[in-house]
């Protein structure tokens, strides 16, 4: 039943297949940086906004954003005196890749369901023939 079950399966399928502790893993190993990604998932924000939100110095937040930027999880652009952060291409690609893996899991499940449906149809047909006799 559990759909979360599929999510969990999916975590591991990806994890065990690639098992790579890459820059995005390092970037995500920090609670503040995960929080920043969540925040940017809701809306773009300036470094000043983020520093205030996470009760941090501007320098501290700049470092965190720098790590996320290097991992491709965040992009920043300076407009006037304000540096705005938003989710980077990597983050969006990862969501697309995750959705594709999730789709493959469901497709495998549904291919099996096709077989069950074919069996039931055959049984019903056979029962119908017996009735008519």
């Amino acid at each position: 039943m559990p759909d979360t079950g599929v999510l969990k399966l999916n975590h591991m399928v990806q994890y065990s297949v690639s098992n790579r502790f890459d820059s995005s893993f390092a970037a995500l190993s920090d609670a503040t940086r995960r929080g920043v990604l969540e925040q940017l998932g809701r809306a773009d924000a300036s470094i000043t906004d983020l520093a205030a939100k996470f009760r941090m110095t501007l320098t501290g937040m700049k470092k965190h954003v720098g790590v996320l930027e290097q991992a491709g999880l965040v992009t920043t652009a300076k407009v006037g005196r304000v540096r705005t952060c938003r989710l980077g291409p990597r983050q969006l690609e990862e969501e697309a890749a995750w959705i594709e893996r999730y789709r493959q899991l469901w497709a495998a499940r549904f291919d099996e369901l096709d077989k069950v449906i074919e069996d039931l149809k055959r049984q019903e047909k056979a029962a119908g023939r017996r009735k008519r006799k």
Partner: protein
């Protein structure tokens, strides 16, 4: 050639899976509510998991429980049926996690085929984002570790 399965993140909190089946809704629905049929397809061989038991009390307020072989202990998934409308709609909770989604399945008959739409509604955008993020980095919430370990063993083989 099998029919195509599509997945879409329909909104911040919703993940939707769609597939057309070659059979009447009556038959397709049956395969979702009879445990002996359900367990034939819910965990395909490619998942590398052993389903130990599958109990389903399909009526509003009735429970379900799926138990998988795990290391060291079996792992259970469970919840309650919230809606049961024969041949057209099923809904259940996923209670093994406090952040579990509500799953709703609709069956729409069209000639000889039935379109099945599975919608997972998460309690918040953050929960769904976290599920996706952890899926691509291997940083799992604690409660998932057990099954993750099991799967690691299964998949490495």
């Amino acid at each position: 050639m099998n029919n195509q399965t599509t997945v879409e993140r329909k909104s911040a909190r919703e993940l939707v899976v769609t597939r057309i089946f070659n059979g009447p809704a009556r038959i397709v629905f049956e395969a979702w509510i009879r445990p002996e049929l359900f367990k034939r397809w819910w965990v395909p061989g490619s998942f590398g998991l052993t389903l130990l038991s599958c109990e389903m009390d399909v009526r509003v307020g009735g429970g379900y429980r799926l138990v998988f072989a795990g290391n060291p202990e079996p792992i259970a998934f469970f919840g309650k049926y919230l809606e049961v409308t024969p041949h057209s709609r099923l809904s259940w909770s996923n209670d093994e996690s406090p952040d579990g989604a509500i799953t709703t399945v609709t069956f729409e008959e069209n000639g000889d085929t039935t379109r099945v739409v599975v919608t997972d509604l998460y309690p918040s955008k953050e929960v769904l984002d976290a599920a996706i993020a952890s899926g691509s980095t291997g940083a799992f919430p604690e409660q998932f570790l057990q099954l993750d370990e099991l799967l690691a063993t299964e998949l490495v083989r």
